[in-house]
């Protein structure tokens, strides 16, 4: 009994007798998740404010006579005249490994029904991006597991690569494939006991999506065993615009924790078009001046300050960002797409026509580019796939030209056939990323003409057979490619021998 009393007394003693100063204001209006407040003369920009009933808000508009705050929580309980107090704190979210495998909201609160998250640390949601001195150039690869991307539009750790395309062209699928591939690589790497292995943890930020879509993504990650390496930040379409606006920044804070603590992380923003729409809604309600397409003047800064937080830090880890932008009728010259294209280090453009022709992933080779990733590409991929982009571009040109004439010389016909085979070879089903060593083996077989005898329509089938041959019978060779990451003469001879061995086993 006495111990209990001592505890209470200690707690009372902790309470300071000094008066605590608070700065207060009163709600003048509340509408659409935004409150206008009289008073709060000491409030800081982006400071958290406390509303009655536990709801919190963020001061976004500091005007001469009033303060505009976005309310994060239930606004139905708020009314005119309610007292609001400053907290002196910036909005922060829980960070750390405890979040892996969990689904959280924009404030880092669990929404997956798996109980509370035991997180010891918090990071501010808004943070200035790392400067020039602390950064290091991108030189380590981040494999997506998608052959068309890893061989032609490679992505490096710390890069920002935009994924852009119309609705239903497979943008989300590419990012989920990438997350699944990281999990697969992590499992192999961690099991190998290699001390130099650096796992990549993933953060998937869903902004303005349907809840059913988010559930489908979680199920796909869970089925592939990738959820244990992934944090899901969900701000669905039914969430208020303030949460949709904050979710990418919260995800970035969670990713920064991995980066600052010497680990590598990948963050997917799905998607920034809806993020810009949520911010436009907030800005219009706050009566900020609107510009092109009614977006506020700082919509560029909205995305640039977010994407600049992706970096590779000297002596620490990295944060790679894959933002997604949805275009309308393939228009990449709209306001938000051009903004994000100019901020990122390249883009993967997905075309509806290719998708409908059955070329999946529907990557448009001509419009897609990676500005820094080639520095991070492993030598083996460069050796077998260095000329692929040029060959495919030539193929597209020739294919368009060949439509007008029936008489083609033998060389042109051969080029067209080869291009057609490459296109077929790059077809890949969803949620089945390929390890880089297997990609090298398949591309090697293609370069050495092992698919030339195969009918174009059977190339996918033949490639499947080759992959299965390598995974079941040439595991040691694949491991050697993975560890060496370059093809020397000995390895090339072994690959050649393996392909020769496979050839008679496949009958079209």
């Amino acid at each position: 009994m006495s111990t209990v009393l001592e505890q209470i007394e200690q707690q009372i003693a902790k309470l300071s007798n000094k008066a605590v100063k608070k700065n207060t204001g009163n709600i003048r209006t509340v509408a659409d998740g935004v409150a206008k407040i009289d008073g709060l003369s000491d409030v800081m920009y982006n400071e958290m404010v406390q509303f009655p009933g536990g709801a919190i808000g963020i001061a976004l508009n500091l005007e001469e006579d009033e303060v505009g705050c976005v309310v994060l929580g239930d606004v139905s309980q708020l009314k005119e005249g309610d007292e609001v107090t400053t907290t002196g704190k910036l909005l922060a979210v829980p960070v750390g490994r405890a979040l892996l495998g969990r689904t959280v909201d924009a404030l880092g609160r669990p929404v997956d029904g798996k109980g509370p998250i035991d997180s010891k640390e918090t990071y501010p949601v808004e943070k200035i991006a790392p400067g020039i001195i602390v950064r290091k150039s991108v030189s380590q690869p981040l494999f997506t597991g998608i052959m068309a991307i890893d061989s032609m539009i490679p992505i490096g750790r710390g890069q920002r690569e935009l994924i852009i395309g119309d609705r239903g062209t497979g943008k989300t699928t590419i990012t989920i494939d990438t997350i699944i591939n990281q999990a697969k690589i992590n499992k192999v790497g961690l099991a190998s006991g290699d001390k130099n292995f650096r796992p990549v943890y993933s953060i998937y930020v869903a902004v303005g999506q349907k809840n059913s879509n988010i559930v489908r993504t979680i199920s796909a990650l869970e089925a592939a065993g990738a959820l244990e390496f992934t944090i899901i930040v969900a701000a669905p379409a039914a969430d208020n615009p303030a949460n949709q606006y904050l979710a990418p920044y919260s995800g970035a804070a969670m990713g920064e924790w991995f980066m600052e603590n010497g680990m590598d992380a990948l963050i997917v923003y799905d998607d920034l078009s809806k993020h810009a729409v949520a911010y436009r809604q907030i800005s219009l309600i706050l009566k900020r001046p609107s510009g092109r397409e009614a977006y506020p003047g700082d919509v560029f800064y909205l995305h640039s300050r977010l994407l600049e937080r992706a970096a590779r830090l000297d002596g620490k880890g990295s944060l790679t960002a894959l933002p997604i932008i949805e275009t309308l009728a393939g228009d990449v010259s709209a306001y938000i797409p051009t903004n994000v294209i100019s901020i990122t280090d390249g883009q993967i453009f997905l075309e509806t026509d290719l998708f409908n022709q059955g070329i999946r992933p529907a990557v448009s080779v001509g419009l897609s580019v990676s500005r820094v990733g080639s520095a991070a590409q492993i030598k083996a991929t460069k050796q077998v796939g260095g000329k692929l982009k040029g060959e495919l571009a030539q193929f597209r040109e020739l294919a368009a030209f060949a439509q007008f004439g029936s008489d083609l010389d033998a060389k042109t016909k051969a080029q067209l056939e080869r291009g057609g085979r490459i296109v077929e070879l790059f077809k890949q089903p969803a949620f089945s990323p390929l390890p880089i060593e297997l990609q090298v083996a398949v591309l090697f077989a293609m370069q050495k003409g092992f698919f030339e005898a195969v009918d174009i329509k059977k190339v996918v089938d033949a490639a499947l057979s080759l992959k299965s041959f390598f995974t079941t019978r040439k595991d040691a060779l694949l491991t050697e490619i993975r560890t060496k990451a370059a093809l020397d003469k000995d390895l090339e001879a072994k690959l050649q021998a393996a392909c020769e061995e496979w050839k008679p086993t496949y009958s079209a």
């Binding site: 707690q11 309470l15 007798n17 000094k18 008066a19 605590v20 100063k21 608070k22 700065n23 207060t24 204001g25 009289d38 008073g39 709060l40 003369s41 000491d42 001469e64 006579d65 107090t85 009566k287």
Partner: protein, 131 residues
């Protein structure tokens, strides 16, 4: 409508600035402003006067320390609070008492937007928030 409100707000601010002498709202100036609005054909007079009233009341609140208290409070404490606040804000601040039994014990002083919490109710609220 929005532009009318902005114009009224701007005009009210001008009137308010004219009502302040040496950092203090002057009763004479306020009477003068009211007389001006009444005699001249001011656009949206209700809107202007409401905005003006809000600015004046906000300013006046900065000069008064409202001391909410549970239990008795004597004049000496009130004058000590007034002196302390006058020193802190560098402007004359008077103190007025306001009984508030919900505080349980102690006082809460309100000067403009600032609230100085030194009541048992406030400490219990802080304690429950920290648990």
């Amino acid at each position: 409508m929005a532009s009318h409100a902005k114009v009224a707000q701007k005009f009210a601010r001008q009137l308010f600035q004219m009502s302040v002498v040496d950092g203090v709202v002057s009763a004479d100036r306020v009477s003068g402003v009211l007389e001006y609005v009444e005699k001249h054909n001011v656009a949206n007079p209700v809107m202007v006067l409401k905005a003006y009233e809000r600015l004046v009341s906000t300013e006046l609140a900065k000069g008064v320390a409202v001391v909410e208290h549970a239990g008795a409070i004597n004049a000496a404490v009130l004058s000590a609070i007034a002196a302390s606040m006058t020193k802190k804000y560098g402007r004359p601040v008077s103190a007025t008492a306001k009984p508030a039994p919900e505080l349980l014990a102690g006082v809460r002083v309100r000067v403009g937007d600032d609230v100085y919490e030194s009541s048992v109710a406030g400490q219990l609220a802080a304690l429950s928030a920290s648990v």
